[in-house]
């Protein structure tokens, strides 16, 4: 649609050129569609025919041969079709995404887990089976027949070849017939003006032929467009797939929100406990000591002086505890300088030599900064503790709405999220922000851990204030 509005101000020649270009593109896409539709149709049908014929050959002396052959053909055909069904739909989804930017989410119902009861039978969620393999296939078939997306894909397996044959066939027919007319098909005609009947006939057939070919070319994009429209209707089930995706998304958000709230509550409890048992208790002790000192001032000045020294030490320790607590809640350098310098400060304190590369255009939103900081801190601690590495590299990069952090060490590898709680914790922490954690750690090393966090940049705080000066 956009091409039409753009071409409205153009010359006829430019319009023609554009229409032809679009037509050529349409033809190419149509050809791709035909090629892509072939396996989804030819393979199951071919397999069915082949299996049926073979069965009939082997059974030709028995009476119910044709019936058996038909059922064999049906079973083999549907098995192959089942193998093709998702691939065909995925191929169409890719085409639509690439050509028109239409995203068709494929959201399948989760496959229920097989459960075995005390007799050793397998419960698929709706029926019992003795053998696990049978149960697995029964469940798969049951699930495939019930899952809405899979049903849509099966419908598409049938609709797709028909549609492609109709659209591609129409355009192809125009092209082939047009070419035939132009080359070899003199239309019977009378003499026209100075032209002989034969010449008139040739000119006429040329005009008709070329006209048909041009029509085919111009129609091709519309055919593809129509195909896309039908595909969207079938595969998206009029928005139901999108709806299912939304439902899934809400479920994920609910889970990560529960995680976040839980973490926060645990953190608050920890802070409360630390304050209560640490700094607060020390301050009480200092108060008591001061009271005693007041009392001793008159009687035993030497003891009072000792107690004073003790009180001062106590206050210093209380401060130290508060400082550690603050660092655990929100590290001061992070608050003051942002992620880059905070990680550089981490690197300075790390047991391993750590190189830090930072490419951040601006301050990130504070919660993202904190999540990234604590994750990196955990990863550096891991590297120092477990990897046996001699050098660590941290790379922090922000590009196009995505913060990407890679932490690489030259250690022995085999970092495994299932073993420790650390990587799990990082995953959960990032999950709240839709972030992901990827681990590349082969035995023998090296280990590369990548964090990705989608985020928008906040407004620059420090730079505006210093610009005022």
């Amino acid at each position: 649609m956009t091409t039409e509005t753009r071409t409205s101000g153009m010359s006829v020649r430019a319009q023609t050129r554009e229409a032809l270009q679009a037509g050529g593109q349409g033809l190419a896409r149509l050809a791709q569609l035909v090629l892509a539709a072939v396996p989804g149709f030819v393979l199951p049908v071919g397999a069915a025919v082949f299996a049926g014929v073979m069965a009939a050959q082997f059974l030709q002396y028995y009476f119910p041969a044709s019936l058996v052959a038909l059922s064999v053909a049906a079973v083999v055909g549907s098995a192959v079709a089942a193998a093709c069904v998702r691939r065909t739909a995925d191929r169409t989804r890719r085409f639509l995404q690439r050509w028109y930017g239409i995203r068709l989410p494929a959201v399948y119902d989760p496959l229920p887990k097989l459960e075995s009861d005390e007799r050793g039978h397998w419960w698929t969620g709706y029926s019992y089976h003795r053998s696990q393999t049978v149960a697995k296939y029964a469940q798969l078939v049951h699930w495939g027949l019930r899952d809405r997306t899979t049903r849509a894909e099966m419908l598409w397996l049938v609709v797709n070849p028909v549609l492609v044959a109709a659209l591609g066939g129409a355009v192809g027919l125009l092209l082939v017939l047009g070419t035939a007319f132009a080359l070899a098909g003199p239309v019977p005609a009378d003499a026209f003006g100075p032209m002989s009947p034969r010449l008139t006939s040739i000119v006429l057939s040329l005009v008709v032929g070329i006209g048909m070919v041009l029509t085919g070319i111009v129609l091709a994009p519309y055919a593809v467009r129509g195909y896309a429209e039908v595909a969207r209707r079938v595969l998206d089930q009029d928005g139901r797939a999108t709806h299912a995706q939304l439902t899934r998304r809400v479920a994920v958000l609910t889970e990560t929100r529960a995680d976040a709230v839980g973490n926060q509550a645990a953190e608050l409890r920890r802070i409360e406990r630390d304050l209560h048992d640490g700094a607060q208790a020390r301050l009480v002790a200092i108060g008591m000591t001061l009271g005693t000192i007041e009392h001793l001032m008159e009687t035993d000045q030497e003891a009072a002086r000792e107690l004073l020294a003790e009180a001062r030490q106590s206050s210093a320790r209380a401060l130290q505890e508060l400082r550690d607590l603050v660092r655990g809640i929100h590290p001061p350098v992070l608050a003051e300088r942002g992620l880059g310098d905070a990680v550089r400060a981490l690197a300075l304190d790390s047991a391993l030599p750590t190189e830090v590369f930072v490419s951040l255009p601006d301050r990130l939103p504070a919660p993202v900064e904190a999540a990234a900081y604590f994750s990196i801190s955990e990863l550096l601690a891991n590297a120092a503790k477990h990897s046996g590495a001699e050098q660590v590299w941290v790379d922090i990069l922000y590009r196009a709405g995505l913060l990407r952090v890679t932490v690489t060490d030259d250690g022995v590898g085999v970092a495994d999220p299932s073993r420790g709680t650390g990587l799990r914790g990082i995953e959960r922490r990032l999950g709240t922000f839709d972030g992901v954690l990827a681990i590349d750690s082969t035995s023998g090393g090296p280990t590369t851990i990548t964090l990705e966090l989608p985020c928008e940049l906040s407004s620059p705080r420090t730079s505006t204030s210093s610009a005022k000066v």
């Binding site: 206050s315 210093a316 400082r323 660092r327 300088r337 550089r344 300075l348 304190d349």
Partner: protein, 221 residues
């Protein structure tokens, strides 16, 4: 001696003013924000500035930034930075220009008035005063990491640590219970092992501390 003081907490500011005045300093200005600090430093050109790292309006490292900016204008302006926490990163930034007259202390050190006043005086005289906490952090990382400082003997490292804290030769001698001559010999060894060319002595001390901070810190940043 004239002091410019920057601290946003009223109680602490008043306490510092009282403390400094009691020890014979004159308060040229006591301010509470970063921009005011820069203005005051450039206007008064004090003998020493006592600056809180975190200042309004941003409540980030405004004080540190203002001090660094002022030192670019007035080379070698003595600045004693106070902070709730000490960071190698900030210590390195403060010492980076190698001119000395830098102190970086935890706010807690104010409790010990004698030590604090001593640090202010040392910084005003162009020396350094690094918080023992910074040194302790460095000790932790140096003992585990390769670097040029590994060539130093244990005693030389002790001397370097005390130098970084800002002690004079005689103070180091007293702390380590050795003679002044022995300290001077150790320091000469440190300078040669760190390949610091003979220069003005005070400046070389700063450079040695700087090497201490940088050499152990890896190549990051």
């Amino acid at each position: 001696m004239r002091v410019v003081l920057a601290e946003d907490l009223y109680l602490l500011r008043e306490g510092l003013i009282r403390l400094l005045e009691a020890h014979g300093f004159t308060i040229a200005a006591a301010v509470e924000t970063g921009p005011e600090l820069l203005e005051a430093l450039l206007a008064h050109r004090p003998d020493v500035a006592v600056v809180d790292v975190r200042l309004p309006p941003t409540l980030t490292d405004e004080g540190l930034q203002a001090a660094l900016k002022a030192r670019r204008e007035i080379r070698g302006l003595p600045v004693l930075v106070l902070s709730q926490h000490v960071q190698q990163l900030y210590a390195r930034e403060l010492l980076a220009d190698g001119t000395g007259g830098i102190g970086y202390l935890l706010k807690d050190r104010v409790f010990n008035a004698g030590q604090f006043i001593d640090a202010v005086r040392r910084v005003a005289a162009g020396g350094t005063a690094m918080d023992p906490d910074v040194i302790a952090q460095l000790m932790q990382t140096t003992s585990r990491r390769p670097g040029p400082l590994l060539g130093l003997s244990p005693r030389e490292r002790e001397v370097l640590e005390l130098m970084a804290e800002g002690c004079s030769n005689s103070a180091i001698a007293a702390r380590l219970s050795v003679s002044d001559g022995a300290v001077a010999k150790h320091i000469a060894n440190i300078f040669s092992k760190l390949e610091l060319a003979p220069d003005e002595d005070a400046n070389r001390r700063v450079l040695a501390v700087l090497a201490y901070l940088n050499g152990t810190a890896g190549q990051s940043g």
